[in-house]
Subunit: 338 residues, 2 copies
DNA sequence: ATTAGCACTCGTGATACGAGAGTGCTAACA
DNA sequence: TGTTAGCACTCTCGTATCACGAGTGCTAAT
């Protein structure tokens, strides 16, 4: 569909535009990239590429900039060169063993990615359908108030405070959690009914209180919410791409709410490196931005680490950065010498 | 020091500037606020007030705007009218009983404050010197990896993953935590040595593993870190005060890092409503912004909920908003009907 | 098929200019 | 002595104008 030379022109334009941030003209391309051809030749090619939808002009008689389709072409060619999906998969799994726990790991990953990329680092973990629970703990906070701690398989911690119909002692709560923890590692849906029956039979004293506690537990197990982390966003204010405030505002608003992050996670359809550019995004707020993210499924949870930036992002650098961050995330530290 | 009329002029100028966002001239004041006096009179007063440091001119022959000192005057007069510190104190204490736990409560508080004030809602809790622990739980995640859950008094949960020198079974870990939890409600420093001796004596089997676990626990108890929450920041991009990007960028950067939030908490020196304006702030990033925050000490922890915005903030509205948010934070929900 | 040449377009930055808002000062006034 | 009217002066802001430069599209020559 595209001639060899057209492809060369395309890649040159995208590369140069990412580098400089200014629309690139035929003369620039002919001088710096395809030195064997005159600017007029390039001009003709660019005109064709525009008609095909790979390039566009901000205004008549200015250079060309890539369309989403143009970026896609470029990104695919970069991905072919530096396919790091296999590494990413390995390393993202080790997040669960990070010394700050999976949440701490994701938080610091998003933070680091923000810092070194100068875009916005993001990270999230979201349980899939069949999540298994690892442990439950009830902590009596005060009269009838109980803190419910649930550890999902993989180390993700959920917490909730609830009020029970009776004031139960900590000893009794311990007894209750011990009985539930016998089923550690099971899917909730599998053990739900038998667990209920078992608990109800054994602990008749506080039947309704136990029932309430189980209801709360079920609430967490059935729809455990996404945990999302966003790194520093302030760096992006420097970028020339976001000179006009309304654009960056829409993007910020999107990233600041949980639904936005959930959508980003959802858009990572395959394991390894995912790249979603501009118009390819569903949400209007992302239509002029791009996401580069590594994702994997592990322990019944989908984990994602990535970067959100302008369409005109330094994709190559971001991809290698993500890979490097994943590699250098400290797993759990070995026992230090005393 | 200030005559009655000078005070009236001051309050009028600040009020009008907060309302309109534009520097206010003598004519405006004489027409809308001190109708009994001509603009020339006001002009003279304003000139004096400028000399005294309450007002300044952005440029010659433009209206006046308040200095930090001027805002201080205004804010103190507002605080005198609507002193809500007593309510705030009551209500901030009930945060611990919020159905999402104290962390969830703070997060949603900062979120709501952002939304209704259109500035940036902030919230944080930081343990003071003598924090007491409520409960400890060790969860075996995998071979030698253990998730350490610590609940501080008041319901604040800290978590950490660590690797122990031996692979201990969950039963053994349960035994260990049970022995520690006997001391629930005590200050760490008080029980530290006796606890160590007691554990070491009782559990000789895995001495060094237990010692490692206790070390980790100590790490959390001795310097438990601040937990800070920042609401949506995107609204502020609309404000005319932040048209120039570098200013808002510095502010964002400040709020995005934990040290920044820690400094805000530290600057809340008294219980109830604290207001720190512009130059009164220590950090350069806040020199042209202001903080309005309600804070209280409870359970050996300092809790703060507030709003960060431009110096030209609608202080009156923000104060009442914070008060209202604190009142309407749902405490733990009562048992619902089955 | 490629390239040189040329007329045309459009954004950008500099400059100028007038309108408007506000001040400071002086002189008149109660 | 405190207050007010009047007036000249200052500074910002928006608009219009103009020249420049970069880039395109088209045509004709190679």
């Amino acid at each position: 569909m595209l001639t060899e030379r057209q492809l060369e022109v395309m890649l040159s334009v995208v590369y140069e535009y990412i580098r400089s941030g200014e629309s690139v003209g035929s003369r620039t391309v002919s001088r710096r990239y395809l030195t064997g051809h005159s600017s007029a030749t390039i001009r003709n090619e660019m005109s064709d590429l525009e008609e095909m939808g790979f390039l566009k002009q901000p205004h008549t008689s200015s250079g060309r900039i890539p369309t989403t389709l143009g970026y896609r072409l470029y990104v695919d060619s970069v991905l072919q060169r530096v396919d790091s999906s296999k590494y990413s998969k390995e390393w993202i799994k080790s997040l669960g063993e990070h010394h700050k726990g999976i949440e701490g790991a994701l938080e610091s990953a998003s933070d680091i990615l923000s810092r070194v990329s100068n875009y916005v680092g993001v990270a999230a973990v979201t349980p899939l359908d069949k999540v298994k629970f690892q442990r439950v703990d009830f902590v009596r906070l005060g009269e009838r108030n109980v803190l419910l701690l649930v550890v999902l398989q993989g180390g993700l911690v959920h917490q909730k405070v609830t009020s029970l119909p009776w004031d139960m002692t900590q000893e009794y709560l311990d007894d209750l959690s011990r009985r539930i923890n016998v089923f550690a590692g099971c899917e909730w849906t599998e053990i739900k009914t038998s667990l209920k029956a078992y608990i109800m039979e054994e602990l008749q004293d506080y039947k309704s209180a136990c029932a309430a506690a189980l209801r709360e537990l079920e609430g967490i197990m059935i729809s455990p919410s996404i945990k999302a982390f966003t790194g520093s966003m302030s760096h992006m204010l420097n970028l020339p791409d976001f000179q006009d405030l309304s654009r960056i505002q829409a993007l910020y608003e999107f990233l600041e709410q949980e639904e936005g992050m959930a959508e980003l996670v959802k858009s990572c359809s395959k394991e390894g490196i995912n790249i979603i550019i501009g118009e390819e995004n569903e949400s209007p707020a992302m239509k002029r931005s791009a996401l580069v993210a590594a994702s994997t499924v592990c322990n019944g949870q989908m984990t994602m680490i990535g970067v959100v930036g302008p369409e005109r992002m330094d994709y190559e650098k971001v991809i290698t950065t993500i890979d490097r961050v994943l590699r250098t995330m400290d797993p759990v530290p070995e026992e230090e010498a005393e």
